[in-house]
Homo-oligomer: 292 residues x 2
Amino acid sequence: MTDPDTEYCHVDGTLVPAAEATVNIRDRGFVYGDAVVETLRVYGGEPFEWAAHIDSLERSATRLDFEEVLPPRDDLHDRVTETLAANDLSEAFVRLSISRGVQGRDLTPEPRVDPTITVVVDDLPRGGTDGERVWDEPATLRAVETRRPSAEALPPDGKTHNALTGVLARLELPEDADEALLRSVEGYVTDGADSALFLVHNGTLYTPTTALPLVPGVTRGVVLDIASAEPFPVETGRYNLVDVREADELFLSNPAWEVRPVTEVDGYEKPVGPITQLCQRLFDRRVEQTHY
Amino acid sequence: MTDPDTEYCHVDGTLVPAAEATVNIRDRGFVYGDAVVETLRVYGGEPFEWAAHIDSLERSATRLDFEEVLPPRDDLHDRVTETLAANDLSEAFVRLSISRGVQGRDLTPEPRVDPTITVVVDDLPRGGTDGERVWDEPATLRAVETRRPSAEALPPDGKTHNALTGVLARLELPEDADEALLRSVEGYVTDGADSALFLVHNGTLYTPTTALPLVPGVTRGVVLDIASAEPFPVETGRYNLVDVREADELFLSNPAWEVRPVTEVDGYEKPVGPITQLCQRLFDRRVEQTHY
């Protein structure tokens, strides 16, 4: 992930070499971060959970009030497929972004929107089952001082180009930590800077509720879905740092990491426990069954 | 301001036609809004309050932890001056932005930063004294539901490309309103979406304190400075919507509007009162004395 090897990107309907893949400096996605984005995984040539990601993209665009300019789903799917083909990739990480485009010099958006649609893909071999995962080791997690903005300030279920809170959280990390643990202003744990958080206590799987200001990621939804078919209880709610530090097991999820165990949080060591391992196997099976 | 007429922009040290002024789609300023910005005014060919704006730019970059890559002030001044000359402008609105540049595909910033520095200028004739102001009429102000993020979520004194809170606030406005009035999550008024707020009660000038999550704009600082030399008291503090609605006078300030009276807030009509008019005259005199 740190050494991208994209050769071609898709910009506004055209494949262009990565070095020439640009947006105008007046694009509102650059000026204000006025753009929506989905990051997703491609397995065996097909986007994983495509419908859920496009639902999420539409919801994000609705939050920013330009959902009416999103092209049809098939059109977006074509752009992703063309970009994958141009880079000769069938196992990939994809970033699909739609900005409000170039407008006049005013914070207030103009009603007429000509969106800027970009697709960037990177080689990312499949994890799980036969493949090797992106991460070499389980994660080390650190609670940071940076907090998630309240829902009244930025809609948490809109994935946008306003990602500085996550950037600032990561900047707080010491070198030996992999992910920053964020909280709401009130002190409830929400998620990692770029991942969803899951806790296990006494055989129950917990994850922070979307009533808190957290990104309801698609991978989080997949984990909740596969876990709900298992015999152990699954709950969403409000948890604090003590709950996290005293958890029996902890793991993170996002499209790149899939299900990644946490073996240390703020100095507290954790095992890679049975429910974490089961969720990993179930996630891998879901990928296997739907894509290979 | 809604019909920009820039012909040349400055991008990474080179003057380029506006249509070709671009950044790579992997630039962190586009991907995450990971960039700092100042908007400022040029009168008589010289940036107004240049030192204060560059102080502010440096503070913003410090908040994002890339202040060490900012070029010397003279270098930035040259870029602005070259852009003005290329567009044959001596009365202008300037947007100077510095992003963390293109990096790998990870939310965590890499230590090595090659910043992207852009300058956009637009013709903006001088207001006040002899000139015509940008705005045709005093402003109509509306309190909105969107709130400023808490300081723990986004540093309010960092002016960045994460401006969606202001965009969302403006999207709430009815057609007949000019500016959105924001509050903190706790309910204290902070500022306009793109302007500072001043209130007058019984002969005292008030403005929300920077202990609240608000942008401490340079124009706000100039108004406080010129007002402090006058015989009426000037105070900063925490005020609520009732204080605003019951104010004797209200005005807004930013580089484009300078000092703009508010004659209606949430249906309450306000006069363009004596302290507002005095602040306008003093602001115009400051511009006159320093630039012409």
